[in-house]
Symmetry: C2
Subunit: 273 residues, 2 copies
């Protein structure tokens, strides 16, 4: 009998953690998810969420996650410390820190909880766009490693190139799907919440130093809603409210093909023009 071992998906390799002592997890950066400086912020967010999921005291599923990118994560090993700060009947609050050789690079808080059936209503409207197959993939520049893990098909607001001028609107809308394909779960959704390149690139029509300072993700989809998506593309849309004084906000929505609003996310981004 031949045992068939499926190769680990690169995303799962990147967020893989080894539980050490109580609440401490050992991880390692993944070259496949490198950004220009340090790892893709989305993979750091996913890894922090994964730490809570793996914690033996964990209650329920992710409701919200805030990640503060305090300093650059260097290539190599890191440690995540996850601490349940308060456990209620149906919700649980977590504080997390990511360190490298004792130096803090990232802090986070997360709320997990048990969802129940209630009245529901999606008030935001899913953008009306062509089906994913009707949109051409538009690759990121080759030097951004992490983006090669996603098939991105921009309906509007693609990554600027040398011929792009300024754009009056900061909105990008795209179909996005992990490549190779992978079923949707909460860590994947957390990473996708950060898949939108900095809006200032789009407005100014060029690259410049920019990095997320703080990212918040609200998880609207329950586990069934996520499972329903399987490995289908999600529709993402992101825009900025205000740029100024070296910072801007960026808000995003992630929709399933079935019209389910799976996550909303917000971030504050540093830029240097």
């Amino acid at each position: 009998m031949t045992e068939i071992i499926a190769p680990t998906h690169p995303f799962d390799s990147a967020i893989d953690l080894t539980p050490a002592e109580d609440g401490v997890f050992a991880g390692h950066t993944s070259a496949a998810f490198a950004n220009m400086v340090g790892p893709f912020g989305g993979i750091t967010a996913a890894t922090l969420l994964r730490a809570v999921q793996q914690h033996p005291d964990r209650l329920g599923d992710p409701l919200s996650l805030t990640v503060n990118y305090a300093g650059p994560v260097a290539e190599g090993a890191f440690e995540i410390t996850a601490r349940a700060t308060r456990t209620n009947r149906t919700t649980q609050h977590w504080s997390l820190e990511l360190t490298q050789a004792g130096v803090l690079t990232t802090t986070a808080t997360a709320v997990f909880g048990i969802r129940r059936e209630t009245w529901e209503s999606t008030e935001s409207e899913m953008p009306r766009v062509p089906a994913p197959d009707a949109v051409e993939p538009s690759p990121f520049p080759e030097f951004i490693a992490w983006a090669r893990n996603y098939d991105m098909r921009f309906v509007e607001g693609a990554v600027p190139n040398e011929d792009s001028g300024e754009n009056p609107d900061s909105t990008s809308t795209l179909w996005v799907r992990p490549t190779p394909a992978r079923s949707l779960d909460y860590p994947a959704l957390a990473a996708l919440a950060d898949v939108f390149f900095p809006r200032v690139f789009l407005r100014r029509g060029r690259y410049m130093p920019a990095g997320t300072v703080s990212l918040t993700v609200y998880f609207h989809g329950n586990p069934e809603a996520l499972a329903t998506q399987a490995d289908e593309p999600l529709l993402g849309t992101a825009r900025t409210g205000r740029f100024g004084n070296g910072y801007f906000d960026q808000s995003a929505e992630l929709w399933g093909r079935d019209g389910a609003l799976l996550a909303t996310s917000h971030q504050l981004v540093y830029f240097k023009d």
Copy 2:
């Protein structure tokens, strides 16, 4: 010679903290800012921000704040512990905990920083509404103590009463001004970010148990932009993207009369219908 001592504004009394040992501040809940269960979430957010502002190591001004309401704050004394987790050249990251007799009720993270002049653009549009004087004040129900600290003039989406039916839209837009008048500063702005009643009340046309789980505020206004507002009313607008499984998100903007977008905020709210 008679010394004239101005009475302390109730907001300043409510957020008043006494520095104890390193990074620990002693405070006390204020009856004037009580909500149905525990204090108004906005006053807790403002008090946490105030702790960082008072910390001798503090660098710059608030850029973002996330507050996780883990458990109810009881009437009485509390302690805030503020810890600078990382200090960079122009930004500083903070982790905070609020406890009562050793029991954790609230966690928070904050990013402070030094702003500089850059390209700027406000892409969100300020709602077009009548001037504050042309809108009637619409008081909150008398039993919500904290709301008596604000003059609120709803342009749309006022607090529902017995005759309100369901509303197809979750948007509230209002002029809001502290009463008595008080100059705008960052703690005041943090509190105003939570001044919007739970959007589910508006959609369902009635009250029900609801409470903020996690609140994030991005501060777009620099100190000069805040000072310019003096004690003038701000225009606030808030709406929800999705309600379901006992939770909903709520996003808000706070605008100056001069058209400055001063803060954007997002929260995840628990509800029981």
